[in-house]
Symmetry: C2
Subunit: 300 residues, 2 copies
């Protein structure tokens, strides 16, 4: 029952997100690939080469199967041999380097023991950090969180700081946002609350992003700034292939490779020992890629 | 004693490789960064934006320290608390898509229990597989191997097939080559033999590559072929970040990040669900990215 309800809702939310992003972009349309494998099915929706969006990927899937040893290890599953999982996962790479990269995910995971939980979040990776926008972004997330639980924002904000972290670079991926996992939903009450919370996150995602896209999509930029964007995308690739749990889960559960790797940027660069000039915008951004920054109050 | 001897030889070989590649390229020069950290030191040598070479990286390092738990797991170390390691590792990304990417590594690892071993290899990742060149490449490696042991080529060729494999794509990284590890060197006799073998590999590396570079560096290519090269580089990134033991060892041992990530291509692309046309060169290359191809005899 719950499975079907969430599957249906998440699939509808996926279409809603795509429709809003497509309208905002104004040029390219999303193409939809339906896939079906032994473990389940999914819809992979991609918009490429738009006016303002270089690549937007919105994945939906609903899968079930046997819990593998690798899943037991990485997800710390103690009991349970069968699972069901459904979720939406999205990533947007804009053309303009002054528009941030963003990522959103909501997911539901259930074991045959009855244990079930929600996870998800939204986070932002600006190529150039704009403090005012960063503060606004975090306030938007806090408003959504506070409606459900005043602990949500502080706990999930800190979770994002620790999760979206490239330890080998000692760098956060961006300005974070919120990230949560293992929010158990035994009772109907907690189930409804968490389910609704993930719905609100998915709904807020295109609205928040379109605001930032609209503001900066026509900002002039140089070749040098475009190059910096590609270097930052290189970091994004490092995170996705080295740390991301979604990529790992996708591969461990024998998911559809092209859908999993949809999170990759269209192009990314690496440059040996690139060091931004003292006092440059690039240097300022790097100095802000740290955990535990109080974005909301940083301007006050 | 052995430590110093190998360190000195490998550092000299690094300079020799760079000097030959620089001559062959004819434009850009290698820049050298010396680094020193608590665990040891190294020389990072990079050539960028040459006539024919887009990026050549040749790393040398000599490090020692305490065996970490992560190293114990990944290197299957049972006894021993301190290690010494030295090696050369190189990667070359050419400009022309008809010139292959290549990679070479030789390394020596020693534990305070007295256990010591050599590892290394050479492998080739053509963007477009040329069967004749692939056969020639493998013959060259077999000739080097056979001088030392007739088992070396078949065993190390198969090892390369299994190691340079992207299981999530069910694709080999390229046409393989030779790869070996844990070749123990207790006795002076086996030590001298293996040390000499790794020396011969490092010496052969620029000679073999320059042959392939010279043959194809001026071959005409289209934008479409250049794009295919970038997609193949995307696969290279996936391998390096998801499977490569050298990257893992570098990070686990707290190595110098910029030297570890020197193996990354200057730029790489990802394109959702890219499928080469039936009968195209790209399709033929994909069909040959398989394990256990007998490259040497495939044309006879």
């Amino acid at each position: 029952m719950r499975d079907q309800q969430i599957t249906k809702t998440y699939r509808e939310l996926q279409q809603q997100i795509c429709s809003q992003l497509e309208n905002a972009d104004g040029k390219s349309a999303f193409v939809t690939d339906y896939w079906k494998k032994e473990l389940g099915h999914g819809y992979t929706m991609v918009l490429q080469n738009g006016n303002a969006i270089e690549k937007a990927a919105v994945n939906f899937s609903s899968v079930s199967g046997s819990v593998t040893n690798s899943m037991k290890d990485s997800m710390k599953i103690v009991e349970g041999s069968e699972y069901f999982a459904t979720g939406i996962s999205s990533i947007i790479h804009p053309k303009n380097p002054f528009v941030p990269i963003t990522h959103m995910n909501v997911r539901y995971f259930e074991l045959n023991t009855g244990l079930a939980w929600f996870g998800g979040g939204i986070d932002l990776t600006p190529h150039y950090i704009n403090k005012k926008e960063a503060s606004w972004f975090h306030k938007e997330l806090k408003t959504i969180c506070d409606y459900y639980d005043s602990d949500f924002y502080p706990v999930f904000k800190s979770w994002a700081d620790n999760y979206f972290y490239l330890s080998h670079r000692e760098e956060t991926r961006g300005i974070g946002g919120i990230f949560f996992d293992y929010q158990t939903a035994y009772e109907n009450e907690s189930f409804e609350k968490l389910f609704d919370f993930t719905r609100k996150i998915a709904e807020a995602y295109p609205r928040i992003y379109i605001e930032l896209l609209t503001k900066n999509r026509n900002t002039e930029f140089t070749e040098k700034e475009k190059n910096w964007q590609k270097l930052r995308r290189g970091r994004y690739v490092e995170f996705n292939l080295m740390y991301d749990h979604g990529t790992k889960f996708g591969i461990d559960s024998n998911g559809r490779v092209e859908s999993i790797f949809l999170s990759m940027p269209p192009m990314a660069n690496w440059e040996y020992n690139f060091t931004p000039k003292t006092g440059s915008k690039e240097e300022e951004t790097l100095s802000l890629l740290k955990k535990d920054i109080d974005w909301i109050n940083m301007n006050s």
